[in-house]
């Protein structure tokens, strides 16, 4: 068992509201990712689950039992810190053994567990070293081993891959997913990297300024963002947003373009809207009925693809194209739109008008 539920978490640091009523439900065995930009309250949420900070309001339930007042030691959780927090005076072996020593496990069991973990994470040769003698990736593995050496109720991970270089990060991403699958344990994983969230998570909670914006599977969050902010935060290149309004069976852009109005768009005529278009749902190479006039603004070759920036009125559309695409800035062109995959947001509230309707 390993369910984690937090209800109405509130926490202020001075005048800054870090958490403003955060409610999350992490099912047993889930890889649950808390995603948000820095300052969104992700780490504070994790520390609240761990019991490291005192809350202003709210409750933490572990396995259905109220643990709000429990000390961290009795919550039976393990945590990987962003800066690893390895004990500097202890060898890697002692660092990994620490959770078992704290629980007064017999020496034989400790030795066996450390050996098993170091095998799993390929750090057998590092066990006698101190943290200062380890590289970032090695420290990360030792920190992971220290968390995994026990079988706690749940694992808490605070941006464990942020301090690694890109190659190592991709490697560890796969490895963490593998470990999660083989353990079947509950992971609560905090990150500001949406690629990590989309690639690793069973469920993603998107956090912004201490409030939960959306909870769902990676597909749900990506395909059906609850609001304009989530749509803009998740996805790379970021979603393009065009100001427009509905007029009968048409969408009319503030820049002067018109598109057929999607059937699911329930907005009233004249209501200020934002049309959200993802780069992969746009094309500069195909012909179609629904298209926008614009001019080439710039090209971003990324190797496997090229992102074409197209200026429509005063707004920039990011369009995904084949890496062979060419053009000169200022060139007139039309961008074909896959309207079935477009998003519409209320310009005032930012809420999605399409998420529910499809």
């Amino acid at each position: 068992m390993g369910t984690v539920a937090v209800q109405g978490l509130c926490k202020s640091f001075g005048k800054v509201r870090a958490l403003d009523g955060v409610t999350l439900d992490v099912p047993d065995g889930a890889f649950f990712v808390v995603l948000g930009p820095s300052g969104a309250g992700k780490t504070t949420t994790l520390r609240a689950i761990a019991g490291l900070d005192k809350l202003d309001a709210g409750s933490v339930h572990l396995d259905g039992r109220d643990a709000t007042a429990d000390a961290p030691a009795v919550r039976d959780l393990a945590m990987v810190f962003q800066n690893y927090a390895l004990y500097p005076r202890h060898t890697a072996y002692e660092n990994i053994a620490s959770p078992l020593r704290a629980r007064r496990r017999p020496a034989g069991e400790i030795a066996a567990a450390v050996e098993r973990m170091s095998g799993l994470l390929h750090i057998e040769r590092l066990l006698h070293r101190r943290p200062a003698q380890l590289s970032g990736g090695e420290m990360q593995r030792v920190a992971l081993a220290r968390a995994l050496v026990r079988s706690p109720r749940a694992f808490l991970m605070d941006e464990p891959l942020t301090n690694l270089d890109l190659k190592l990060r991709v490697e560890m991403r796969t490895e963490l997913t593998r470990i999660h699958r083989s353990l079947g344990a509950t992971f609560v994983y905090v990150t500001n990297d949406q690629v990590e969230a989309l690639s690793m998570a069973d469920q993603v909670a998107v956090l912004r300024e201490g409030t939960v914006q959306q909870v769902g599977t990676p597909t749900e969050v990506y395909e059906r963002p609850a609001n304009q902010w989530v749509a803009g935060f998740v996805g790379s290149p970021p979603i393009s947003l065009l100001a427009c309004h509905a007029e009968g069976d048409r969408l009319v852009g503030e820049a002067g373009w018109t598109l057929p109005r999607p059937r699911w768009a329930t907005a009233a005529d004249g209501q200020a809207l934002r049309l959200g278009l993802r780069a992969e749902d746009l094309s500069v190479e195909q012909r179609g009925d629904a298209s926008l006039p614009g001019e080439l603004y710039g090209l971003e070759p990324l190797g496997d693809r090229t992102v074409v920036d197209v200026r429509v009125g005063t707004e920039i559309l990011k369009v995904k194209a084949r890496p062979t695409v060419t053009g000169t800035p200022g060139e007139r062109l039309r961008v074909t739109v896959d309207l079935d995959r477009a998003h519409l947001f209320d310009a005032g509230t930012g809420l999605s008008l399409s998420a529910a309707g499809r």
Binding site: A50, A73, F81, Y87, A102
Partner: protein, 305 residues
């Protein structure tokens, strides 16, 4: 300014062109010429009394009063040092008792200040407290007044409490003076130790106090050593409270005891000097042992790592 002096020093015909590395070294040496001159002048002024004290302590009494004074070529004697520790009747001298008192008072008060101050510093560093800055300012403000300002009220309090002329009285007042200092200096050291070590330890299954004791405290040892030496030096050198709050030879610490040697009809300067040398030695030894940590303590926060 230093640069222009450098150039003046290194000016003149340079027969061979020095390599960049050598030039750097020569420039460094040029600067140190100025430094050496200034420091020598300063050292002479500062160290002359010390030198004179040491000379006096090993001169025979007739040489002490010799005019003109002899710097070299006097007869060396260690009689004064014997007199510091051995009384006229062959037993322990009053001065040796005073030294022992100083060791006890300075030692115990330092331990007390450290035991109280280090956990307090940890708490001020780690916890959110109401009006923390005001509290810390209040703690510091107790050090604003020089001892001589508060010695009279403390004398009255001590008379009521029966602490006049007791070692306990001195220990308490020295500890009270050293606790604020310990809190402030140690808070800087605790701030330097990431709180995550304790967080990690608590998740490992340790209590908050265990986490502090097992993981943070060992990292604070150099800071504690430096802080304790400062506290020790304060207690060891303290004069005003000692002379006001104690009177008997059995309780007196060394500073008032040495001062008490001066003021009779004749002053045994050799004995005064020898006692002063003995008095100064422990502080020098301690300061030497923890010199690196002392500098670290003084410059703490000056450099961001």
């Amino acid at each position: 300014m230093a640069v222009s002096v450098d150039e003046a020093v290194s000016a003149g015909p340079a027969p061979d062109h020095p390599s960049p590395a050598r030039r750097v070294r020569r420039r460094g040496r040029g600067r140190s010429v100025l430094e050496v001159v200034l420091l020598t002048a300063l050292a002479v002024v500062m160290l002359f009394p010390v030198l004179w004290m040491i000379e006096t302590s090993i001169k025979e009494n007739r040489d002490v009063y010799a005019v003109p004074a002899e710097f070299f070529g006097f007869t060396v004697t260690l009689d004064h040092f014997r007199d510091v520790f051995v009384g006229a009747d062959g037993g322990r001298s009053a001065l040796s008792v005073a030294f022992l008192n100083s060791v006890v008072v300075a030692g115990v008060s330092t331990v007390l200040a450290t035991v109280l101050g280090v956990p307090a510093a940890w708490a001020y560093s780690r916890f959110t407290l109401k009006a923390k800055k005001d509290q810390l300012f209040f703690v510091l403000s107790t050090r604003f007044m020089p001892p001589v300002v508060v010695v009279v009220p403390i004398f009255l309090m001590y008379r009521q409490a029966g602490l006049i002329d007791t070692k306990l009285g001195l220990i308490l007042i020295y500890a009270a003076f050293n606790v604020p200092f310990t809190i402030w200096m140690m808070k800087g050291f605790v701030d330097e130790v990431p709180a995550e070590y304790e967080d990690a330890a608590m998740l490992d299954g340790y209590s908050r106090l265990q986490a502090f004791w097992k993981f943070t405290l060992p990292l604070l040892v150099p800071g504690i050593a430096a802080t304790a030496v400062f506290a020790l030096i304060f207690s060891w050198n303290e004069f005003v409270f000692a002379i006001f709050l104690t009177s008997s030879d059995e309780v007196r610490t060394a500073p008032p005891a040495i001062a008490g040697l001066i003021g009779g009809t004749t002053v045994d300067w050799g004995l005064v000097a020898a006692a002063s040398v003995v008095f100064a030695l422990p502080v020098l030894v301690f300061a030497y042992l923890v010199r690196r940590h002392l500098v670290a303590g003084v410059t703490l926060g000056a450099v961001r790592r």
